[in-house]
């Protein structure tokens, strides 16, 4: 059991990353009931935006100083793409049957991947991403905290706090809640719902950029295919936590991250389950968890609305 704290810590860092991406899925779904499957690619574009800023800056600028600018660059790139996708791909289809925007999202995801593949310099293979130099922090003898994990562990709660305050306190945030509850009535009350939808996409894009920088720091590289698996995992996290609920998305991410880490470590110690443990089966266990949660609580861990429109 001595590896438990380390497993929880690694799982928490991974889960916070999933949670940041899951916010993008859940906000958009909460307001327009659209699963934006291109969101993984928004993350990827945020990563390339941040990398571009790092490459522009002279090498003498330390990473810690460059990080805010990289975040800004990544956020500009992914917010621009996310809002453009909303304006040109999803808005024309808003009254179309529900499958139409879903298929559009899948097509958009392939298109965005190929655009980066074809036009970003040297992006046909993985591009190196800067990392903090130096060893991990040794908290106790058996627990190591990676320097690069520090970023996501700090950024995720800050982002959640800011988002929570924004949604609960600000005028726009309350307008968002109203639009999520009933778009038609919200429009009758004078809320510009088109603007609210764009803002939801933009917030998702900004969170995606933070997640992309976190992923780049953790892995030391980004590539044009990175959005697919991250997007899939984050979508799972959003459903797990209750799609449409922002706190649920973060909780779902953390639960998923810890479940992955724990199933890699522990399942094979259970007698008779040796063959079903390890990294090769972690996704299976993560989805077993998802199915069990949905059986017991169809609305997800924190979901309020019943998932009747998905």
């Amino acid at each position: 059991m001595h590896e438990l704290p380390q497993t929880l810590l690694s799982g928490l860092a991974l889960g916070a990353l999933y949670g940041l991406i899951a916010i993008g899925y859940t906000m958009v779904y909460g307001i327009v009931q659209l699963i934006n499957f291109a969101h993984g690619e928004i993350v990827m574009i945020g990563g390339f935006g941040a990398l571009t800023v790092r490459l522009w800056l002279p090498d003498s600028v330390p990473l810690a100083a460059a990080l805010p600018l990289m975040l800004l660059g990544g956020a500009i790139a992914s917010v621009a793409v996310a809002t453009a996708a909303e304006r040109f791909a999803y808005r024309p289809l808003r009254d179309a049957p529900r499958l139409a925007p879903l298929i559009t999202a899948i097509g958009l995801s392939i298109a965005l991947q190929q655009i980066i593949w074809a036009f970003y310099p040297d992006a046909k293979k993985s591009r190196g991403f800067p990392q903090f130099q130096g060893d991990a922090f040794e908290l106790t003898g058996s627990i190591h905290l990676q320097r690069d994990d520090l970023f996501v562990l700090a950024a995720a709660p800050l982002c959640m706090l800011a988002l929570g305050l924004f949604v609960a306190k600000s005028r726009t945030g309350r307008a968002m809640q109203a639009t999520a509850q009933d778009p038609d009535t919200a429009r009758l009350m004078g809320i510009n719902t088109d603007r609210i939808i764009v803002i939801a996409f933009a917030i998702g894009g900004a969170f995606a950029a933070v997640a992309a920088v976190a992923q780049g720091l953790r892995a030391g590289q980004i590539n044009f295919e990175m959005g697919f698996i991250l997007g899939l995992k984050a979508f799972t996290a959003a459903v797990l936590g209750g799609i449409g609920n922002i706190y649920g998305a973060m909780l779902g991410g953390v639960v998923l991250g810890i479940a992955e880490a724990a199933s890699t470590t522990y399942i094979q110690h259970i007698p008779g389950m040796q063959q079903l443990g390890g990294g090769g089966w972690k996704d299976v266990w993560a989805f077993v968890l998802l199915i069990v949660v949905l059986l017991v609580r169809p609305q997800g861990l924190l979901g309020e609305r019943v998932a009747d429109r998905a």
């Binding site: 001595h2 590896e3 380390q6 497993t7 690694s10 799982g11 860092a13 991974l14 593949w117 046909k124 293979k125 993985s126 190196g128 991403f129 800067p130 990392q131 130099q133 991990a136 040794e138 190591h144 990676q146 992923q215 953790r218 892995a219 030391g220 590289q221 590539n223 295919e225 990175m226 697919f228 698996i229 992955e260 880490a261 890699t264 470590t265 390890g278 990294g279 090769g280 089966w281 972690k282 996704d283």
Partner: protein
């Protein structure tokens, strides 16, 4: 309703098939009856030309291109000009199979070099076998490709007569790695990770078997998923297992990250892998230092072979954008084997290429024997290379350096 849509589908498929075969038969005429004139034949190439494995794939493509250019320049086969048809499989078996069908349909193709991935090769072999089209892989190392699925039980049976390779098998590579690890590097307790792919899982299994036979201990095994980037849970497990080393069966994008994350987790132990990780991309996968990590690769280092000097010079003079990488020399030899087979076929047929040369060329490839870039090139009764040389490389100051080259001994 269901029946009608089936009908439509079948009609569409039949039409397409007819259209395709019509194209094929039209192309037929061009190749055959051009008596005294120059005939152009193609050597197909299939490799991952894009995506994370493209550093390997581009090297394969360029080296075949160099072989073809050399043959044309020297007028190696009188009356025959060679060209290449390069297709990208992105390391995806399904794409490889489509490419195989394309190459078969192109009547100018007399043989092909590729693919790089054993899993892709499995999906292509059957397509070429039906068309008698010679396939020579410069990189596949999975034993089952030439010796059948039951090779481990000693029942060797060649599944496809059209498949050859210039690379050594994993039986040799995995055992060679285990012997080096146990005897030379003095590692006794190793943790084995593979990527669940045909190549990686096969190599890891052979390594485990040989390492145990020598008396070593396996601290644990685990599997990772290709294209993922977070292996910290596995890395923590490796650290807690108390292993003194890691063996990884898989490719460099995951191998590089795994090695880095193991070291970041606090276990300063070396990782060893096969030819899949022997690539500069392994070292640059992330910022972490990889010094001390090991990789085996088939053959002697191309730079150190006298027979390869001309190849290296010509390659560098060729102005190719990407390096020839791990499989360049083997790709050149594979292409050259096809060229030699064409030469023999032409010589046996009164100096001109027969109308449908594929079966005759296939026959001739099995009998080639020449001194190539990587040493003597010839194939045994299974289609495997008779060359059993291997090299261990180590990362030193951020670059791969050869530490031991030897011919495998049982």
């Amino acid at each position: 309703m269901r029946h009608r849509s089936l009908l439509v589908l079948t009609t569409a498929l039949t039409t397409t098939a007819l259209a395709l075969s019509a194209c094929g038969s039209r192309d037929d005429k061009g190749g055959g009856d051009s008596g005294g004139k120059q005939t152009t034949v193609a050597i197909g190439i299939d490799a991952p030309l894009t995506g994370s494995l493209s550093p390997f794939g581009q090297g394969i493509k360029n080296s075949v291109d160099l072989a073809v250019k050399t043959a044309n320049k020297n007028n190696e086969v009188k009356g025959v000009t060679f060209k290449t048809v390069a297709l990208d499989d992105q390391a995806v078996p399904g794409t490889g199979q489509q490419n195989a069908a394309k190459l078969v349909a192109d009547k100018s193709v007399v043989g092909m070099v590729g693919p790089m991935n054993s899993g892709v090769a499995q999906s292509m072999q059957g397509v070429f076998a039906k068309a008698d089209l010679t396939q020579i892989s410069p990189a596949n190392t999975n034993p089952a490709l030439t010796q059948g699925d039951n090779w481990a039980k000693g029942e060797k049976k060649r599944p496809f007569a059209t498949y050859f390779r210039t690379a050594t098998t994993d039986i040799i590579q995995g055992r060679f790695a285990a012997q080096y690890f146990y005897k030379d590097a003095k590692k006794k307790k190793v943790f084995v990770v593979d990527d669940k792919q045909t190549y990686g899982a096969g190599l890891a299994a052979i390594f485990i078997q040989e390492f145990k036979r020598l008396g070593g201990e396996i601290a644990g095994t685990d599997h990772l998923t290709v294209k993922e980037t977070d292996f910290t849970a596995i890395a923590n497990k490796i650290k807690n297992s108390g292993a003194d080393s890691v063996y990884f069966g898989g490719q460099f994008p995951e191998g590089g990250l795994l090695s880095d994350q193991v070291k970041k987790a606090g276990a300063r132990i070396p990782l060893m892998g096969g030819d899949g990780i022997y690539n500069p991309g392994f070292v640059t996968a992330s910022g972490e230092n990889n010094d001390g990590d090991l990789g085996t690769s088939v053959g002697y280092p191309v730079e150190e072979l006298d027979s390869a000097k001309a190849f290296v010079t010509n390659y560098n003079a060729g102005g190719y954008k990407d390096p020839y990488a791990t499989y360049g020399g083997y790709s050149y030899d594979a292409a050259w084997a096809i060229i030699q087979a064409v030469k023999k076929t032409v010589a046996d047929n009164n100096g001109k290429l027969p109308a449908d040369p594929r079966a005759k060329i296939l026959d001739a490839v099995g009998k080639v024997s020449f001194d190539g870039v990587t040493g003597k090139v010839s194939f045994d009764q299974y289609g495997d290379t008779t060359n059993k040389q291997l090299t261990v490389y180590q990362v030193t100051n951020g670059a791969w350096k050869s530490v031991k080259s030897a011919t495998f001994q049982d």
